[in-house]
Symmetry: C2
Subunit: 159 residues, 2 copies
DNA sequence: ACATCATAAGACCTCAATGTCCTTTTGTCA
DNA sequence: TGACAAAAGGACATTGAGGTCTTATGATGT
């Protein structure tokens, strides 16, 4: 019952990117450093997100990654599924034919309901919600005398 | 975001055992066969459940496994945690010290809430609920002309 | 054209989850 | 007490998640 590291990393990178206007460029290197994420693994996650057009990738010397659309248009379910594939909760749920007990199994029914509630939750929230949450956290931290983020480079590159 | 096979198998075995009075004995062999579970893996899961006193194991020629207490006294959270350890959802949640972003991370807050809702769900339901669900399924199946369970041995051994 | 530096792509490694197999220990019964 | 059949326990194989590394490819400035 764990969120995979891939989704975790993807969300952290997306939160960093959401703090700047859509279209702002971010280098893999900076995202990894500022998010405390393994660079060479993050690149695979971002590739999945690029396939789903949640982010755009730009090659070349002034390349980088940018958000593909506004944070409010990116549901957490879309992030989960573009990285991990369908949210299954129990392996037999999305493919009833794979289990000979399908349709006569209490566990299947119970976890089907749990899955629906999780999916509803992920679908009801967008990256914007996480961004708002982050803004609230940052504000309360800044009011006290907390240290600055590790790298000023988190801000997007100016073309 | 998946329930592990171990928990899946454990629940299936517990549902089989719950259909007989507490104390009834079940051989590993029968549980595995009737539940369609890998015998040699199931034994490890049952050992975890035995450590948590959710089941009792009995050695010797007329040994087997029995429920440790009434299905209504076994919450699904207990089953999950005795097999898999704490339900973490996100690896850093139960141990804030493990993550340098703890307390300043929107993902942590969001998944903390998701975790609470999952835990509440697992805590609010017991094996008895799954049993009731199973009874309902069995009833509706028997009213139609569905095949019998694979093995009559699913019924407990009469000591 | 070419050097530079970004992502793209894929090989490769490690480890935990999953699953199998075999030997040992233990309780029952003749 | 000895044979039998059950769980206990540990070694080992397989698979996928998580992570690293190297080479290819493309955009930019000179």
């Amino acid at each position: 019952m764990q969120v995979t590291r891939a989704v975790d990393y993807g969300l952290r990178a997306l939160i960093l990117m959401s703090r700047q206007p859509v279209g702002a460029r971010f280098f893999l290197q900076d995202l990894a450093q500022d998010g405390g994420l393994p660079r060479n693994y993050l690149v695979k996650v971002l590739k999945s997100l690029a396939c789903a057009e949640i982010v755009r990738s730009h090659r070349g010397i002034k390349g980088g990654f940018s958000l593909g659309r506004a944070p409010r248009e990116i549901s957490l379910r879309q992030v989960f599924e573009s990285i991990d594939g369908p949210v299954t909760v129990m392996h037999c749920l999305p493919d009833p034919g794979s289990c000979s007990y399908s349709g006569k199994c209490a566990a299947e029914v119970f976890f089907g309901q749990l899955r629906q509630s999780i999916l509803a939750n992920l679908e009801a929230h967008t990256l914007q919600d996480l961004l708002d949450l982050q803004a609230k956290i940052d504000c309360s931290k800044n009011c006290a005398c907390h240290p600055e983020p590790a790298h000023a480079e988190t801000t997007a590159r100016k073309g």
